[in-house]
Symmetry: C2
Subunit: 219 residues, 2 copies
């Protein structure tokens, strides 16, 4: 058994929302330009090598910060890819993660010369097997947003139901009924009214909500 010839990497599929010229927000993911062989000058997932004294989760958070400057609001292990021929320069097993980042976090992070964002539904040809990894992450995100309460991690601390709905619509790729969405959220979900409303709209101001946390459970 030759352990030294197999290296362990961590890669992260990052999702964020961006709106182009005032339209509905859509899903975007950042990639890093490879500056060395193999796959020189191709776009690849943010990631890096696992170091000996850190957890997988920590390694994902660290490498994602180092390569893109982002800090995720949600981070979850996705799948481990270990095909023998994934890399032409020796065996690499990659633990893939999915990260969600807030829109304001994207604006705050330094853009970075070698980082570029692409629409999740219009990806370029990526290095290694990274296209397959992103496809898998996107499929999982779409199913998970329907039963887990993760969509709010794209938004700020407080948000309106319309904002939350537009997140769901961006992830799922189709429109949702506003009335029914409201009901399904306010009943089966852990939303809490803040008592405030969002001002400055050219119409009726919507209520602001927040997600129930451990300490805000006082109902």
């Amino acid at each position: 058994m030759d352990h030294a010839t197999t290296r362990l990497a961590v890669s992260t599929v990052i999702f964020a929302l961006r709106q182009e010229h005032g339209g509905a927000p859509t899903l975007w993911t950042p990639f890093v330009l490879r500056t060395r062989q193999p796959h020189l000058d191709q776009w690849a997932l943010p990631g890096g090598w696992l170091s000996a004294d850190e957890d997988l989760d920590s390694a994902a958070a660290r490498t994602l910060g180092e390569t893109t400057g982002l800090h995720p609001s949600y981070l979850e292990q996705l799948y481990t890819f270990g095909g023998v021929d994934r890399s032409p320069t020796g065996r690499v097993v990659s633990v893939a993660y999915t990260a969600l980042v807030r829109t304001d976090e994207v604006d705050r992070a330094a853009p970075g010369e070698n980082v570029r964002w692409f629409r999740a539904d219009a990806l370029p040809r990526l290095a290694f097997d990274h296209n397959a990894i992103v496809d898998y992450a996107l499929a999982r995100l779409r199913t998970k947003v329907e039963y887990a309460h993760i969509a709010h991690t794209f938004l700020g601390e407080t948000f309106t139901l319309a904002q939350l709905r537009s997140v769901h619509e961006a992830v799922l790729g189709h429109a949702l009924d506003a009335a029914n969405f409201r009901r399904s959220m306010t009943t089966s979900s852990d939303l809490v009214e803040t008592g405030e409303v969002l001002a400055g709209t050219p119409h009726r101001p919507p209520k602001l909500f927040r997600y129930r946390t451990a300490e805000s459970t006082r109902s």
Copy 2:
């Protein structure tokens, strides 16, 4: 970066059904007695080291065969466990798999001196973090059996609906309504009648079914 100090292992949680003295079948999983340190003489999940020229699925199938003599009818990656202190003798990252094996396969395989089966709901204290891995596998199996069509992998090629129902009941740990189970299977599922019935019962002979495969799609 010191890659050589981190070793990559594959471990598999194996599930099979067994009935004790004529009762309803229950879920059982096999463990292997450790014959060396660390955790000498404790029970551990079947597994082994990943070798450099095989992919993860193959490694899971191989190590599970080598340690228990079993051949799974279903094998799926579960999660990758990479805590820094999982093993006292150096860093080990384990890719965990879930395997389902048929009852007849269990009977056929050589019992093995160092292999013992335990009821999935009454486990001993296992080596390393293997209790947590089994718990996670069991939780996943319970949710997955409700939406994926995997229960039949516990059974033979053909089976009656009562047999399939007893599999679901064993996995879920509670009884199901026979009439409604029949409907939900025959409608939303890919069951095909074989045209045969199971003889030798002390009552009305039940129809035998088989799962629809790619080539048996002729409806």
